[in-house]
Symmetry: C2
Subunit: 404 residues, 2 copies
């Protein structure tokens, strides 16, 4: 039996490198960059007017001039106008390129403007005011975003600003989610009293969708021959296979045997955790990974978040981000020498602390509470008493909790 940390380390050691591909910038949101994005020009690319008003040469102000003749109006996007004398000004708009002959912008609020010219009302005019100078934010050639960064809307904003139409991103793994077990029937069928509907495959598919990955789904009956034939196909077509069910010690848990016959080598079986103890992890000789999670819905859900998503991020070369923690809000007792992944709801107190309230459940099979939970709190195996006020790591299970 492996510890949670060993299991995680082994899984991350088995990260894949699936190479890169080119996508159009319009399809790039959520993908992981595989190239540097560089500034093609200074940012801003010119001395950029930051207020609507008039542009003058400061020398005139210094000499006490307060009356200016307007010789042009220059909007953002216009080629710059130029003054020829110190008593001339240009009416100029935010975003315009500052003409070379002027160096100071006096906003509408500080002038009296008519068709012919302007009178400066304010006595406080500073040389160079209201100008966002060329290259102040970034210089041409500066690196704006690096490989491993997720293309968030803000990164996309940089990509479009520098005119990158085609972006090199990491290839996404091809994933199939395979449910097993004769006890689970299709969503569309009516279950007999001893049957239940299968939801694990759709749920895991939904988690992956929420993380930017399309996964196919497949269901296998508890028959070794059919399992072997179908999984043989999967091993040819996918980079990773997520199985749910069929890996505990039960008589009909055929998967480990079938996988062995298909040359999928077991890397570990069982992890010291609840739920999810029977988690089986293996690798085919061609490199395809098999994550075989227990069929219990909470276990499959937790294992997808705690093991598959970190593998996915490592495989995509995503820059490592810090873990999250929360303050436990109740005393909790958990005796077994296992890491306990406890469902919690998150709140934030007035000190900006995350507070975790346990969601009362009835053991590992209870997935009805999952919809009310925000995270799993990871309670270590070497303790059995967990006190209100102690801080433990959490694993977020969705993105919708805080949003205002």
């Amino acid at each position: 039996m492996r510890t949670v940390e060993e299991a995680e380390r082994i899984i991350l050691e088995n990260k894949a490198d699936l190479g890169n591909e080119i996508v159009l910038f319009t399809e790039a949101t959520g993908r992981v960059l595989a190239e540097n994005i560089k500034a093609d020009r200074d940012m801003p690319p010119f001395n950029r007017v930051a207020m609507d008003g008039i542009a003058v040469k400061y020398e005139a102000i210094e000499k006490g001039n307060t009356v200016f003749r307007k010789i042009a109006v220059q909007a953002a996007g216009d080629a710059p106008a130029e003054i020829k004398a110190l008593d001339e000004c240009i009416e100029i708009m935010t975003g315009a390129m500052l003409p070379e002959s002027v160096d100071t912008v006096i906003p509408y609020e500080q002038i009296d403007l008519n068709e012919e010219g302007a009178v400066v009302l304010s006595s406080i005019v500073a040389k160079g005011q209201n100008i966002h100078t060329q290259g102040r934010d970034r210089k041409q050639g500066d690196i704006l975003a690096v490989p491993g960064q997720v293309i968030t809307p803000a990164v996309l904003s940089l990509i479009t600003s520098v005119g990158e139409e085609e972006i090199r991103v990491k290839k996404l793994p091809r994933v199939v989610v395979v449910s097993t077990g004769d006890e689970v029937i299709d969503v569309r069928e009516t279950p007999k009293p001893h049957q239940i509907r299968r939801s694990n495959n759709y749920t895991v598919q939904s988690i992956l969708k929420d993380n930017g990955i399309h996964a196919d789904i497949l269901h296998l009956p508890d028959e070794a021959d059919i399992m072997e034939r179908q999984l043989a196909h999967c091993l040819q077509y996918y980079d990773a296979i997520i199985l749910t069910g069929g890996v505990s010690a039960g008589k009909f848990d055929l998967l480990p045997e079938v996988l062995e016959r298909l040359f999928v080598k077991q890397i570990f079986h069982k992890v010291a955790q609840r739920p999810g103890k029977p988690f089986w992890f293996g690798k085919h000789e061609n490199g395809v990974l098999v994550f075989a999670f227990p069929g219990n819905p909470v276990a499959a859900f937790m294992c997808t978040h705690r093991y598959f998503l970190p593998w996915l991020r490592a495989t995509l070369g995503m820059i490592e981000k810090p873990a999250m923690y929360a303050v436990l809000d109740n005393d909790v007792t958990f005796k077994p020498e296992l890491v306990y992944f406890m469902q919690v709801k998150l709140l934030m107190n007035n000190k900006a602390q995350l507070i975790a309230e346990p969601v009362t459940g009835n053991g590992s099979g209870d997935f009805a509470n999952l919809a009310d939970a925000d995270a799993f709190m990871e309670l270590p195996a070497d303790k059995s008493e967990f006190k209100k006020g102690e801080v433990y790591r959490i694993i977020m299970i969705h993105r919708f909790r805080f949003h205002r």
Copy 2:
């Protein structure tokens, strides 16, 4: 000029009700529920075996019996087998329906099992052990999820378990993002020295995509006639129009005038905030809303998060969630009597507190830092000195910061 709170309140008062539609469960992730999801059966639907082992009647144990004849093997999904005598047992698997004739499950670890029968090794056997009793989690008819809940993977898990194929969800608004301004050229073009590429429309589109909304995009030149014609079309086809640029006091900021001619009534113009002061908000007589954000990329970015997304959530009837806060990590001075939306990076300390580090920027036009920021911190207008250690509200701008 409106305060941020007034602007928000007015926008939320103008939430739309776009009605409901039916989607297949396979397309439902991320949508907002418009109906109750009820348990069609008890959860679990039967007394569910929770460990692999043998099922016996506790009466036999009570009488001191430790040797049992195996009369059947019952896997999960099998119709239940029944014993006829107290010295009989059923080898039984996790997930199976507990037969009526037995009431206790003794796991493999506590027995010595062969083809004919089993010897119980443990002296500690409790009546009813290792059984997840029928209806313990939820009763038939219980409400599992309610209108306004986002269909997270966990909610989808419930939906599929109860066999709901078609789900009633809130209709999504049809949105168009319209950039304006002659100074901005297409991403694919090479800018002249005084031009820049437009990124606002793609960036706002990307934010909406990240929030589950497809938006069309459109660019308008600074020509009143073209603007009027194109916007007249938009007012027929969309529920909301997001405009970027063209609403400050500049001579070529034609939009408010054009919108008035199209019977879009101004609800407010200008909000006491930086960036984003020239924000214009209006409503057409047919109910279409116009969010006209300033063209400055950081302002358009911030306004989309602070104003459009709350409108979207209200329009979708999403259950209100708490705001987020963080501890300011530096002293900050901001003199103007405006709310200052400061770009911050978030960290978490060992007390599970969110800590906000200002991302050094060069004023409102600097969007190069946005890619490094995690949130805007909302610093109130009635103060100008903000001290390290004080707690202020934050508006998250992407979902990728914490993920392990």
